[in-house]
Each structure stands twice: as structure tokens, then as C-alpha cells.
């Protein structure tokens, strides 16, 4: 046999052997090859070694499992005292061999295993009692974040908060007392000069509870024009919640003016400052913000919601571990922790550059994305989008000043739907589009002011011609899945801009969807609009307050009212 044929024959046998198809005669032949050529012997050994590596890669895909298995089998030899091993388990110093040894000890001793389980349970309860990070509140907050992320933004978050806080309501505060009255004082008076509330430790929680429970429970304070005329003044406080308290030493000027190069401390409540370039920065106290100049601010602590103006270079917003440069977006920063800062984007548009200073790591964020800067580990981590923490700032920013009745302001990113587990009979308000210009005239329904009106099929409507900026809200009552409820759900909503158009007929809603460019999801529902004959709507003479009486008519009827307000 020539060398070529010999090689070919060897390769054929080796291929059969490595494929596991070699019979006895094949093996004998291979053995002969090895005897005559040590090199071929090494080749076979090499192939066998490689086959084993493949097997391990497939079966023992992680070496830890293999090692663990070996250690467990060897742990019979360990003579460590179980008490010592368990003590190590409890204080967190048990190694894997220790754990395997414990398992060996307990394998045939159910009583001892049960005792260990009870000891572990006690250890965990002990930590829940003694370790702040394991208290009830952080657990529920973390759970609510996951619920938001995994259940498509349902209301578990807000509901659990209001429930927890309502439990703590002090005497004399009614749980239905949802409306915080307008504060008639000028903006500057909402600062430190306001007498502080005396609290008994429960009242802040109650106030917060009302803030959450009320859809929008803020007093809007408009600053007189001309406040920005002073030297170094780059922004002005435009509105504040009625519980806003600025620091005595670090508050805005008496007219609400904000100067460059100053640090401002909001002790409680929510307050918005508007910059000359159109950027609106809303902070929730306790918060400290440093206004560097007209296009740059630093959030040292607290929560901030920024609607940045569209201008070249963008607005720079910094915080612990995060630098954002943005133009024309709505962004939120949560800088309450010393260990992590979180940022998220609320509206669609261009991506926002988020950078971790010092090490130059950056990430572009888009709508409904969130990121955490881990300050301890100097890392940027993607996290689930959950805007819950911005509930109060959103209430101020959304431009729905106050409400009565069962009303819920939906957070950015909420879809037009109802949680399947919620038998909610509340009017929901969505900000469909925060700011847009109508490219064409919109057909709106005819709604005289100052009197209740009903949907009328013969209404020919009217054209809304607008050249200015509009904002669109969607007011909704989701149909009951459970039953037809003859009771009317009544709500009063006050907007901070005049209402210029209302759409509640099904066809006009559909026609205006694309013009409005709604961002809150699709409305795949045949029976949208107000029910003819049942639902009623009233727009006040000043065109800012709307009262609706909606009937929950069952699964096929989705009450929708589109409200258009003029921003300028």
C-alpha cells in the first residue's frame, strides 16, 4: 500500500473512531497504526483529548458544576463540626466545601435540616429588622419598579404608595381630602418666608400621600413679568406646589429671580424655574440645585424634571456621576442617593448623551429608557424605565392644575389601557403630546362654554385653526369589564392654559389622532368618544376648567375626550 493510501486509510479509521462508529476491527487496525508510528498515536490521543474538551464544553459547560460535584462527593471526608459550619453559613463566611459539608450532614437528618431552615428564617427576619436597606419600604419600592417594568406600567406603584401613606394619615385629615388649595401668595412668598408647617412626623407622610392620591394637587404661582431684568438673573420661579419651602439662605430672590452662580435649596414641595432659553427645570425637595449660568445647572441632590429648550449646544444638566447635554427633550434625574444617580428620558426626539464624568463612559438614551450611574463601582447600568419617582414633578409639569373627583394623571410612558387587575373607575388623564403645531385645521366638537353639553350626533363641528403651540390631553374612562354601572363618574379638571378645542365624537377623534401625533399608544377601540345621551361635559367661561360626567356603559364603550390647549 502506498503512503498516500495508508494516510487515507488512517484518516478514515480515525474519523470513524472519533465519531464513535469504530468497531473492534477498526480499533485493532488503529492500534496497528500506532504501533508502527508513534506520531499517529499522538494524533489519536490529541483527537481523544479534543473530544473530551467538546464533551466538557457541552456537558460541564461551567466548570463550577463539575468542581461542585467533586467537592460534594469528597465532603464525606470532612469532619467539621456542623455547629461550626452552620455558624459560618449564618455569618456569611461559609465556603462552597463548607456548604457541601452541611448538605452532607443534613442529607439524612430532616429534623436538623428543618432546624437550620428556621434559623435561616430568623436570620433573615433579623436582617429585615436591623438593616435599613432591607426594611419594608426599599423592598416595596424595588418591587414596584419591577412591577412597572414587567406589567406594562400598571398602577401598583401609585396605589401601594397611596395605600401605605393613607394608613398613616393623622387625625383630622380625611382620606378623601385630595385637593390642596391654590396658594394665592406670589411665588417669592412660597419660599422661606412662608411659616413652616409644624409636623408630628406623620403629617409629611400625609401630605405626600395626598400629593400622590390627588391627581394634581398643586398650586400654580405665576411670576410677574420683568423679573429677569436684574443683573445675573438667568431664570425665574414660575410655579410651585403649595407646600414648597425654599431655604432661608439659599432661596430665589423676592420676585422669584434665579441668579447664575448660586446654589438653591428647596426643602420641600415642588418648584419650577424657567430659563431665558426656554428650559424649564422642576425640582422636588429636599433638593439642592446649583445654577451655573443660563445653560447649565447642577443637581447636587433631590429629584429634577427638565424640559430643555431647543437651542444650539443644548442645556447641560449635571448631577452626581452623570452629565447630560440635551436639547428639546424631557428628562428626569433622581439624585437622592449617595451611591447611585438615575436618569430617564420621557419624550421621543433625539437621543440624549449621558456620560459618566471622569472616566469618559457615555451612553445615548432614548424615549422611555433609563440608566443608573453606580457611583461606587463607576458604572453606567441600564435599568427598567419607571417614572414613578417623578410623580410629583410631573404633576406640576403636566399643566393640569387641580382636580376634583376620581381623577388620575398618568405618567409619561403610560399606554391607553387599563390594568387587567384594576377595577378602576377613575377618569384618567394622559398628556398625549406636550407641544406640537397642527399642520392642518382640526375638526373639533362644538362646545359652548358655561353650560353642560351632551354628545350630539348632528353636531357638524367646527374647524380649529391654530398657528401656535398646542398641547393635547386625552381624558379617558375605561369601560368596566365587570358590569355596566349606571352611576356617573364625575371629575373636574383645571388646565393651566386655555382650552381651544375639545373632541369627543368618535370620527373626529380618529381624524385628529395623526395630527396630534399621540404618543400614548394606539386606540384600537371601536366605541371611542362620549356616549350619546349619557355623558355630559362643561367648559367654564374662562376655558380653563372642565367638568365631565361619564357613564361606564360596559365593555364596548371607551369614553375618550381630547382636550387641546394653547401654549402661546
Amino acid at each position: 500500500m502506498g503512503k498516500h493510501n495508508t494516510d487515507k486509510e488512517f484518516e478514515k479509521l480515525l474519523a470513524a473512531f472519533t465519531a464513535g462508529e469504530a468497531g473492534v476491527s477498526h480499533c485493532d487496525a488503529l492500534s496497528d497504526f500506532c504501533t508502527s508510528s508513534p506520531e499517529r498515536g499522538r494524533q489519536i490521543a490529541d483527537e481523544l483529548e479534543f473530544s473530551e474538551l467538546i464533551r466538557q464544553a457541552l456537558v460541564f459547560h461551567d466548570f463550577d458544576s463539575f468542581q461542585n460535584d467533586v467537592e460534594y462527593r469528597m465532603s464525606n471526608e470532612l469532619s467539621d463540626d456542623l455547629d461550626v459550619l452552620e455558624a459560618k453559613l449564618h455569618d456569611g463566611s461559609a465556603t462552597r466545601p463548607d456548604l457541601n459539608a452541611i448538605a452532607r450532614h443534613l442529607a439524612d437528618d430532616d429534623d436538623r435540616a428543618g432546624k437550620l431552615r428556621r434559623a435561616l428564617m430568623f436570620g433573615d427576619l433579623f436582617e429585615q429588622a436591623a438593616t435599613p436597606s432591607r426594611h419594608e419600604a426599599p423592598f416595596l419600592e424595588s418591587l414596584s419598579t419591577r412591577m412597572w417594568a414587567q406589567t406594562n406600567g400598571d398602577h401598583f406603584v401609585a396605589d401601594i404608595e397611596s395605600k401605605l401613606r393613607l394608613v398613616e394619615l393623622p387625625e383630622g385629615v380625611e382620606s378623601d381630602d385630595k385637593i390642596v388649595e391654590f396658594d394665592a401668595a406670589p411665588a417669592a412668598a412660597s419660599k422661606s418666608r412662608r411659616p413652616r408647617k409644624k409636623t408630628n412626623g406623620l403629617l409629611p407622610a400625609a401630605i405626600m400621600g395626598m400629593g400622590v392620591a390627588a391627581c394634581v394637587a398643586v398650586g400654580v404661582l405665576l411670576v410677574q413679568s420683568g423679573v429677569l431684568d436684574g443683573p445675573n438673573l438667568v431664570a425665574e420661579v414660575t410655579r410651585s406646589s403649595s407646600d414648597a419651602v425654599w431655604s432661608e439662605d439659599e432661596g430665589p430672590l423676592s420676585g422669584g429671580g434665579i441668579a447664575s452662580g448660586q446654589i438653591y435649596t428647596l426643602e420641600s414641595g415642588v418648584s419650577s424655574m424657567k430659563f431665558k432659553n426656554g428650559t424649564e427645570l422642576t425640582v422636588e425637595g429636599p433638593a439642592q440645585v446649583e445654577v451655573v449660568d443660563g445653560r447649565e445647572a447642577i443637581l447636587h441632590s433631590g429629584i429634577a424634571f427638565a424640559k430643555t429648550g431647543s437651542f444650539e449646544g443644548g442645556f447641560s444638566l449635571h448631577s452626581k456621576g452623570i452629565n447630560l447635554v440635551d436639547s428639546g427633550n424631557s428628562i428626569g434625574i433622581d439624585a437622592r442617593s449617595d451611591h447611585a444617580t438615575e436618569a430617564m428620558i420621557f419624550n421621543q426626539g433625539t437621543g440624549v448623551d449621558v456620560c459618566l464624568p471622569g472616566i469618559g463612559r457615555c451612553r445615548e438614551l432614548y424615549q422611555y429608557e433609563a440608566i443608573r450611574a453606580d457611583l461606587d463601582r463607576e458604572k453606567l447600568l441600564d435599568i427598567p424605565y419607571n417614572p414613578r419617582v417623578f410623580t410629583r414633578t410631573w404633576e406640576l409639569v403636566a399643566g393640569v392644575e387641580k382636580n376634583a373627583g376620581s381623577v388620575r394623571l398618568e405618567l409619561p410612558g403610560s399606554f391607553v389601557e387599563r390594568d387587567r387587575n384594576t377595577n378602576l373607575e377613575a377618569v384618567q388623564i394622559y398628556v398625549e403630546n406636550d407641544s406640537f403645531r397642527a399642520k392642518e385645521d382640526m375638526q373639533v366638537d362644538t362646545l359652548p362654554t358655561g353650560q353642560f353639553a351632551k354628545a350630539n350626533e348632528s353636531d357638524t363641528g367646527e374647524a380649529l385653526h391654530s398657528e401656535g403651540e398646542l398641547r393635547s390631553y386625552l381624558v379617558q374612562l375605561w369601560p368596566s369589564q365587570v358590569r355596566e354601572n349606571t352611576e356617573l363618574v364625575e371629575a373636574t379638571i383645571t388646565f393651566d392654559h386655555p382650552v381651544v378645542g375639545v373632541i369627543y365624537s368618535s370620527d373626529r377623534l380618529e381624524q385628529s389622532d395623526s395630527i396630534v401625533g399621540t404618543h400614548v399608544g394606539t386606540h384600537n377601540h371601536a366605541g371611542r368618544g362620549m356616549d350619546v345621551g349619557d355623558d355630559e361635559i362643561l367648559l367654564s367661561d374662562d376655558r380653563r376648567t372642565m367638568n365631565v360626567k361619564l357613564k361606564n356603559s360596559g365593555a364596548d364603550e371607551l369614553d375618550h375626550i381630547r382636550v387641546l390647549v394653547a401654549l402661546n
Binding site: 459547560h61 461551567d62 463550577d64 458544576s65 461542585n68 460534594y72 455558624a87 455569618d91 456569611g92 461559609a94 456548604l99 457541601n100 452541611i102 448538605a103 452532607r104 443534613l106 442529607a107 430532616d110 435540616a113 428543618g114 437550620l116 431552615r117 428556621r118 435561616l120 428564617m121 430568623f122 436570620g123 433573615d124 427576619l125 433579623f126 436582617e127 429585615q128 429588622a129 436591623a130 438593616t131 435599613p132 432591607r134 419594608e136 423592598f139 416595596l140 424595588s142 418591587l143 419591577r146 406589567t151 400598571d154 401598583f156 396605589d159 401601594i160 395605600k163 401605605l164 376620581s406 390594568d419 387587575n421 384594576t422 377595577n423 378602576l424 373607575e425 354601572n485 352611576e487 363618574v489
Partner: protein, 182 residues
């Protein structure tokens, strides 16, 4: 408006009532302490998504602990890097001692909230030095050698003292849990 609690209201009540017990139960199956809350939260989310299957006559605590138990069992199938349990073998042993019978689970888990409240009271009554040690260990995560230096003690003495404090707290908690006169 109907004053009947919604299914979501009921679920929230369940979470508040059972989270302490569920977390402790999860730990008792050998879950890594760092992942206990993560597994417990996952169990709640599974329960939330399957509330339609839950019969209200049953004990929610036992039901959600059953879910957690299955989640822990499933951890065995994950690669070591992603596992949230300390040791497959230990978890095998500990899981095998759990019972699906609600009576036992109730005994182990459903008193957790009351135990937690009792424990908090016991902690509040600790002498100053013991309180400092507990805070250092559980709040500040101070290593035993550092704590020993701070307290002018030897590290083994610190460990022993912490053990004694834990043991004392357990007795205190159990005493508070006993009915008056028992």
C-alpha cells in the same frame, strides 16, 4: 362608586402581609442572602400575573411560598454564574424538608410580620454597646476586625458577642410572641 376592594387592592394587602415571611422563607431554602429579595419579588410578580388562578379560599402566603419554592428549584438549572442559590446540594436538602401542606408553611411563614415587629422592639431595647455592634454589623457592614479595633476587642470576641446578641434577640422575640400567661 363601589367601595368593594379591587383585586389589586387585595393583592397589595397580600404583599404587605406576606413579604416579610416570604423573604425569610426564601432565605431558608438556601438562597444567597444578596438575592433573597430578588427571588421574593419575582415570586410576587408571578403571583400577580396569575391571580386569576388563585382561589380566594386558599392561603395566599402558602401559595406564594409555593411559587418561590419552584423558582428556587429552577435555580438549579441555571449556570453557576447566574444562580441565586448558595449551593445546589444545600438547597436540595433544604427544599426537601419543606412541605406543600399549608399548615407547616403557616407555622413557618405567616407569623413573620408579627415576629418582625417583636424583633424590632427587642432591638430597640438593646444596651448601647450591643446596639452599636448590631448597627455596625447589619447597617454599616463593618468587618469584625475593624469593629474589634473600634471597640478595643479581639475579632473572635466580637464574633462571639454578636452570636450572643443574636441568641438573646431570638429569645426576646419568642418571648414576645408567646401569648400572655403562657
Amino acid at each position: 362608586m363601589s367601595s368593594e376592594p379591587t383585586s389589586q387592592d387585595i393583592f397589595i394587602d397580600y404583599v404587605r402581609e406576606h413579604h416579610a415571611g416570604l423573604r425569610a422563607f426564601t432565605r431558608s431554602l438556601g438562597v444567597d442572602p444578596l438575592w433573597v429579595d430578588d427571588v421574593a419579588q419575582e415570586a410576587f410578580i408571578v403571583a400577580y400575573n396569575r391571580m386569576d388562578e388563585f382561589e380566594k379560599t386558599r392561603d395566599f402566603g402558602a401559595w406564594v411560598r409555593g411559587i418561590a419554592r419552584n423558582l428556587v428549584i429552577n435555580e438549579r438549572r441555571k449556570s453557576a454564574r447566574r444562580k441565586r442559590i448558595l449551593s445546589e446540594n444545600l438547597t436540595d436538602v433544604l427544599v426537601s424538608t419543606t412541605s406543600v401542606q399549608e399548615e407547616e408553611e403557616e407555622q413557618l411563614g405567616d407569623t413573620a410580620t408579627a415576629k418582625l415587629a417583636a424583633l424590632r422592639q427587642c432591638i430597640a431595647e438593646l444596651p448601647e454597646k450591643s446596639m452599636r455592634m448590631i448597627r455596625a454589623k447589619y447597617e454599616e457592614d463593618v468587618p469584625a476586625p475593624d469593629l474589634a479595633t473600634e471597640l478595643n476587642m479581639k475579632p473572635p470576641a466580637v464574633r462571639k458577642a454578636l452570636e450572643r446578641i443574636r441568641s438573646g434577640l431570638r429569645k426576646c422575640m419568642e418571648a414576645r410572641m408567646r401569648p400572655a400567661g403562657a
